[in-house]
């Protein structure tokens, strides 16, 4: 059943975010720390287990694959609700800071990549 895959995905999502919330609280931070990451790790581990053990069949996997295929449309929807007006009218500091931050970030990609290799 497709719903089994969707339910497994939902379970991983909530469990991961719960771990992220707890980690955030332990660190004394008012934010979730790594929730999506924990959820993804859990999903990878559980889907591998489920496929090997046979309880996550083709249909179940389709339930996860559907959301994965909806990723780009959801991102398009996400971009359509950004506060672009505020970004464009945020003043010189906001624009300057944002531009500098992005530029520096991109500069460090090849540097860290070399370090990683």
């Amino acid at each position: 059943m497709i719903i089994y895959g969707v339910a497994l995905l939902a379970f991983c999502f909530l469990t991961g975010n719960y771990i992220g919330d707890i980690l955030g609280a332990l660190l004394g931070v008012k934010a979730n720390v790594g929730g999506v990451g924990f959820a993804m790790l859990l999903l990878i581990i559980l889907t591998n287990k489920g496929i090997d053990a046979g309880w996550l069949d083709k249909k179940g996997q389709e339930g996860i694959a559907f959301w994965s295929a909806m990723y780009i449309p959801i991102v398009v929807a996400m971009s359509s609700i950004q506060d672009v007006v505020a970004a464009l009218s945020g003043g010189t500091i906001a624009v300057l800071g944002g531009v500098l931050g992005v530029a520096l970030g991109f500069v460090f990609i090849p540097i860290l990549r070399k370090f990683g290799a």
């Binding site: 660190l27 398009v76 970030g105 991109f106 860290l112």
Partner: protein, 255 residues
């Protein structure tokens, strides 16, 4: 019978379903145009850009902070593109990701997070100082805003920054997020953003979940889970270091 009013009522009431059509049509047009460029510009990059234009129009017409969702009849787009579905879809992309690649991230992933936060701090403090701010609280709050638009207000609130500075910090984070969405597909080739390893570095350096989610989608959706894996630690780490270590560092430099 007022057919227009009935129609508007219908799509307001069924916002999420209406959003599927709006986004479906937007994506379809974008991919058609992408096809005309013979794939030089990917359809998803164009679709995201269209999304941003819709966000601008929505913000101007609706007068709110939620882009297209500022207009009540399009509020459903806000559900579809909100944090819940965004993160749900991001997690789903991990299905089929290679655990061995993720395990390799280790030290370089941590370094990318550290450098990501430090570069934001430098960029924000530099921009704020250049424009006349000299007090440590304002400087570090704007730096935190460059990190992400969540870290900015969290830092500002805990250090007691003025609401004007907090507003600037949020705007800086939005600017960064939008820039990452638009620029990533164009610079991907130059910075070697074409494998899981560099995607994880990219996620850690940029940190903005929305920015990297859209940026990566426009480059190669297969790399999304790797970028998300590091980016997900960014905002939390930022909320940890900006009001503490980086605040003290700012204070040590600017007094």
């Amino acid at each position: 019978m007022d057919f227009a009013a009935m129609f508007i009522k219908l799509i307001t009431k069924n916002g999420l379903v209406a959003a599927f059509i709006i986004i479906g049509i937007t994506t379809w047009i974008a991919y058609k145009i992408g096809g005309l460029t013979k794939g030089r510009i990917h359809g998803s990059a164009i679709a995201i850009f269209f999304g941003l234009i819709l966000a601008y129009i929505g913000g101007v017409v609706g007068g709110g902070h939620k882009g297209l969702a500022s207009i009540p009849m399009f509020a459903g787009v806000g559900v579809m593109g909100g944090a819940m579905f965004r993160d749900f879809a991001i997690v789903s992309t991990a299905f089929g990701a290679d655990l061995r690649e993720i395990k390799k991230v280790g030290l370089v992933g941590v370094l990318s997070l550290i450098f990501g936060l430090l570069t934001s701090w430098v960029a924000g403090v530099g921009a704020a100082y250049a424009m006349g701010y000299t007090d440590s609280v304002s400087l570090v709050t704007i730096g935190a805003g460059v990190a992400t638009f969540v870290v900015g207000p969290v830092t500002g609130a805990s250090l007691g920054a003025s609401s004007e500075v907090i507003a600037i910090s949020i705007a800086a984070g939005v600017v960064k997020s939008v820039l990452v969405m638009i620029l990533t597909p164009f610079v991907a080739k130059f910075v070697g953003l074409d494998n899981p390893q560099s995607a994880m570095i990219y996620g850690g350096l940029m940190g903005t979940t929305s920015g990297t989610a859209a940026g990566m989608a426009a480059v190669d959706p297969k790399l999304v889970p790797y970028a998300a894996m590091t980016a997900t630690f960014y905002t939390g780490s930022g909320c940890l270091v900006f009001p503490s270590i980086l605040y003290f560092a700012t204070k040590a430099i600017f007094g």
